[in-house]
């Protein structure tokens, strides 16, 4: 029996692989997709099954009682099922989905993708759901009544989040788009494979005693001192444009009427370095996770820090952009262009 179960599973997975490759072909990666005849699937819902049974019952009633009005009612409901195919298709057709941007996140957190949905201005779209199974789902309405809060009722931006597990690039999986509008008898269904990816930083996990005793700890101590020491006054020089007003020596200005700037000792050579080679950790991922945590820590403390990886080196600096650059370097460490996808 386990044998047959196994074969069923392989058959099923084979089937789903086939379906997947077919879908991949049908929905190639794009930055923008407009839904149409080729991309919209129409499937009746359970409600249609129930309504069809009702229609059948009414038809039998019509036959049994030879009642023209009951015949009429049953045909009308049958026509309603057919017409709702057209209405549901019309609701989805012409909808454009465009990728706008993706925000980075740490592994295990949710990556947020921003999308823009739009349709021609002579159309209305209602109750369209877009999202990923078991992840996130947004409802979109593009019609005049919604216009009070938007400038253009036919364009709307939404944000969808997807959980991540691995550092690196996270490409947005194929999005499902569906709508049961207007009457719930038919579900029109489509996909959007958007060419958009988010960078997933390594999950920040700080390991105790991971930093090498001599090189790292001392340097960190030193680093701190240096960082503190960097506020130590070393002398006064002439003002140059771009100097911070905080560093202007107002005392000299009062005496001489000329601007002078307090200068500070440059400790750049002793800046804090977060070094790959100094880590006492086994494996790539724990190292990256640890470094990721260290980057966050340094950023928190507003330190000036640099990052040295076997492949790249980021010169010491501080600020948001530097943090992102470091984290990105960590996220993409060791990934060649193929793996990035």
């Amino acid at each position: 029996m386990p044998n047959s179960a196994n074969s069923t599973r392989t058959y099923a997975s084979h089937k789903s692989r086939k379906l997947n490759s077919w879908l991949k072909n049908r929905f190639p990666d794009t930055t923008e997709i407009t839904l149409g005849l080729r991309t919209i699937f129409i499937i009746p819902t359970m409600t249609t099954v129930a309504l069809s049974l009702t229609v059948m019952l009414l038809f039998l009633m019509g036959i049994n009682f030879q009642n023209s009005l009951i015949f009429g009612l049953s045909f009308w409901l049958l026509a309603l099922i057919v017409i709702s195919i057209f209405f549901t298709y019309r609701n989805l057709s012409g909808l454009s989905v465009k990728s706008i941007q993706a925000s980075p996140c740490f592994a295990g957190e949710k990556a947020v993708f921003e999308l823009q949905l739009s349709c021609p201005s002579d159309q209305n779209k209602s109750s369209i759901f877009i999202g990923w199974k078991d992840e996130d789902l947004a409802e979109v309405n593009l019609h005049q009544e919604e216009s009070s809060q938007h400038n253009n009722p036919h364009t709307q931006r939404i944000k969808l989040s997807h959980s991540t597990s691995q550092r690196g690039y996270f490409k947005a999986p194929r999005l499902s788009i569906f709508s049961r509008y207007p009457i719930g008898l038919i579900i029109s269904w489509s996909y959007a494979a958007l060419d958009i990816q988010s960078i997933v930083f390594p999950e920040p996990i700080l390991q105790k005693n991971a930093d090498n005793g001599i090189g790292k700890d001392d340097q960190a101590e030193q680093g701190k001192d240096i960082a503190n020491g960097s506020t130590d006054f070393s002398g006064i020089r002439e003002y140059q444009t771009g100097d911070s007003p905080k560093q202007i020596h107002w005392g000299t200005y009062a005496k001489t009427g000329e601007l002078h700037t307090k200068s500070f000792i440059d400790y750049a050579s002793n800046d804090l370095w977060l070094e790959w080679s100094n880590l006492k950790l086994q494996g790539v991922e724990p190292k990256l996770s640890h470094l990721s945590a260290r980057v966050l820590e340094c950023h928190q403390l507003q330190l000036i820090y640099g990052l040295k990886l076997p492949t790249t080196t980021l010169q010491p600096n501080n600020g948001e952009a530097h943090k992102i650059a470091c984290l990105t370097a960590l996220a993409l460490y060791g990934l060649d262009s193929k793996q990035r996808n």
Binding site: M61, S68, W76, A79, F129, R340
Partner: protein
């Protein structure tokens, strides 16, 4: 099923709940007239509870309350005394289930059940009434139900107006297909007969007539049937719509057969095949063709000009030259008939018929017997005797009235013929037959309708219950059964014009119906107009069945083969679908993607074939730089393409010259293709 796993809200909104309430009231309302009062109370209670619940003033009923309410509902049904297998019972049960389901509808699934049951209840309403008004109300219910269906799909409350508009638009768009299906979808005659007795039977002539019955029936202005004649219509005094032949007299009541014969078996005893019928008939005179639509009567009796020699429709011949429906009329029935009014019926009188037509009660009516003996002594022939009896009505002080005095059970003939001399048609017919039988002349009472009202607007004859009449048939040698109407002797206006004219002096026409429009001449134009449209409705819509369908198809498309039918249906459906596509604006061609982006995609594909795949993160410029270094032989083309593309995308001045840019891009693509 496909949406499993998507976090969706399946609860229905507040506005959808309000829609369900509206639907509940709309669907239940017309059935209230037909169902037991106690059940109506239970339904109202459930609706009110639901409204209070939606308002947040009452909680969801707990199980105890639910059980109590279900119990109340069943108690109401049980106490109503409805027969178990009746339309009322079925409708009541369905309605009860509907009300309870509606009470606890909070999820889409429940809403769907409520709405689908609603659709069935609309059909049930059509079982009770099929008038134009009922149809209009049905359309109204259908719209409300469909709106509710739309409402329960939404996750946000939506306004009433756009919802109603959408439902109406959908239903109207359905019309071409719905009408096509109505006209051409195969209709079947019932394969089985499952008729639920409808207890709201209309008044009508029954198979037991006590003289006062027809007088009572005459107080009703309900329609019995409508007739359209092919060609000239016969004069008013020839319009004897013969229904039942009443042979047996027990002293006060006329029935078809003696009571020994079970009443249930009577219709079947009367069935006769066409061949047997025609063998008792001598064809004579002209053939009258006409079409009748009978209103439902809950009886099998049909009325026609005797003798009927051809029937098209769901009815059969009876042994006494009439016709009978195959089942009780719970629905209107349309028949096409041919009669031979002048034909000779039963030149040879079978013994059993003669025996029935000479039956007399054993006791009573001594005075009438004495009168008959007196007349017999003074007359020489049967004809003479008949004439004497008729003259009696004409010359003596007989009076035609809708208010005959009550008669003594035992001597009812004496009571009328000798004493009161005041009676309605059934009195005259009954005593005349009695007198005939005393003289040994086979005779019988005929119950039916006489006359009718011409509707010039629809060119048909409408026969109402107040046209109910009783007359007689006597059997004479060489003439067979001859129709004689003793009432015509007393009140010729009854036969020449109508009942209203005949009882004008008495003012008793429809006296219990103060508001009946039939009484007022000045309303007759409007009434006839309305009735004419009802008739058209009956004939065209309600009377549309297998037969009318096949004749329509023949008329439109000629003889039909399977292939032809398939081709025609394919054509019709194509036309409908094309109409829908145009109507719904689905034929408009749309530019799905700007041409330059399409070309760029093609460009990437071409490069991919040469082993260079663009990463999503790469900008077009980055990518082309990379590609140009890796594919030096294509470098010029790649750079040119990239330059053109980025200029077109980002330079606002380039937009106006889009076509030239597109041409250039195409040129580049071509040259890339050329270089293998």
């Amino acid at each position: 099923m496909f949406t499993k796993g998507f976090p969706q809200n399946k609860n229905i909104t507040h506005s959808a709940m309000l829609w369900l309430i509206v639907v509940q009231i709309v669907v239940t309302l017309p059935l209230m007239f037909y169902l037991p009062f106690l059940l109506v109370l239970v339904l109202i209670f459930s609706t009110v509870w639901r409204i209070r619940m939606i308002q947040g003033r009452l909680s969801q009923p707990n199980n105890v309350i639910k059980v109590v309410m279900a119990g109340l509902g069943f108690a109401a049904l049980a106490s109503s005394g409805l027969p178990t297998a009746s339309l009322d019972m079925m409708a009541s049960l369905l309605l009860l289930g509907f009300a309870y389901k509606a009470l606890e509808a909070f999820q889409q699934r429940d809403g769907v059940v409520v709405i689908l049951t609603g659709y069935i209840l609309v059909a049930v309403q059509f079982l009770y009434s099929q008038t134009m008004l009922a149809a209009l109300y049905g359309i109204f219910s259908l719209t409300a139900l469909t709106s509710a269906m739309i409402a329960i799909q939404h996750t946000k409350s939506i306004a009433i107006k756009p919802n109603l508009k959408l439902a109406t638009a959908m239903l109207l768009t359905c019309l071409p297909l719905m009408i096509t299906l109505f006209l051409f979808a195969p209709r079947f005659s019932p394969l089985w007969s499952f008729s639920l007795p409808n207890n709201h039977a209309k008044t009508g002539i029954t198979n037991r007539i006590t003289p006062g019955d027809i007088a009572n029936l005459s107080q009703s202005d309900e329609l019995a049937f409508r007739v359209t004649f092919a060609g000239e219509h016969p004069p008013q005094n020839k319009l004897y719509w013969r229904g039942l032949v009443l042979n047996h007299f027990d002293g006060s009541t006329w029935t078809q057969f003696p009571d020994e014969l079970l009443p249930e078996s009577i219709p079947f005893r009367l069935y006769v095949n066409k061949h047997d019928l025609l063998s008792h008939l001598t064809r004579k005179g002209y053939a009258q063709q006409y079409e009748i639509i009978y209103e439902k009567s809950a009886q099998p009796w049909l009325f026609a000009l005797s003798p009927v020699v051809n029937i098209e429709g769901d009815a059969t011949y009876s042994s006494d030259f009439g016709i009978i429906a195959k089942q009780n009329l719970f629905e209107p029935l349309l028949l096409k008939l041919t009669s031979l009014p002048k034909a000779l019926r039963e030149a040879e009188l079978p013994h059993s018929v003669r025996k029935l037509a000479l039956q007399l009660p054993k006791t009573g009516n001594k005075k009438s017997q004495a009168l008959a003996n007196r007349l017999l002594q003074t007359t020489s022939s049967q004809q003479d005797y008949i004439q004497q009896v008729l003259n009696l009505f004409k010359e003596e002080d007989y009076y035609y009235t809708l208010h005959p005095p009550k008669l003594e059970h035992e001597n009812s003939i004496d009571g009328f013929l000798i004493d009161s001399k005041k009676g309605f048609c059934a009195h005259y017919a009954g005593s005349f037959v009695y007198m005939m039988r005393l003289a040994g002349i086979p005779a019988r009472v005929i119950a039916g309708y006489q006359g009718g009202e011409w509707n010039e607007k629809g060119s048909y004859l409408a026969v109402h219950q107040y046209d109910a009449h009783a007359w007689t048939e006597v059997w004479l040698k060489d003439q067979g059964w001859v129709r004689l109407d003793p009432t015509a002797m007393v009140a010729p206006e009854r036969v020449e014009k109508n009942l209203q004219a005949a009882v004008k002096g008495e003012g008793s026409f429809l006296e219990k119906h103060m508001l009946s429009s039939a009484k007022y001449q000045w309303l007759s134009g409007l009434r006839k107009q309305l009735d004419a449209s009802q008739y058209k409705w009956r004939k065209l819509v309600l009377g549309y069945n297998e037969n009318t369908q096949s004749s329509l198809i023949k008329q439109l498309f000629g003889e039909i083969s399977a292939l032809k039918a398939a081709l025609i249906s394919l054509t019709i459906f194509t036309i409908i679908v094309v109409f829908w596509l145009i109507f719904l604006g689905l034929t408009k061609r749309r530019q799905h993607e700007a041409k330059e982006h399409q070309l760029y995609r093609l460009f990437c594909k071409l490069l991919e074939k040469r082993g260079i795949t663009r990463q999503p993160s790469q900008s077009p410029t980055e990518f082309s730089q990379l590609a140009a270094t890796q594919l030096p032989n294509l470098a010029t083309e790649i750079n040119r393409f990239s330059e053109l593309y980025t200029t077109l995308c980002y330079d606002p001045d380039a937009k106006s010259k889009t076509p030239t840019y597109i041409d250039d891009l195409k040129q580049v693509i071509k040259s890339i293709r050329r270089k293998k």
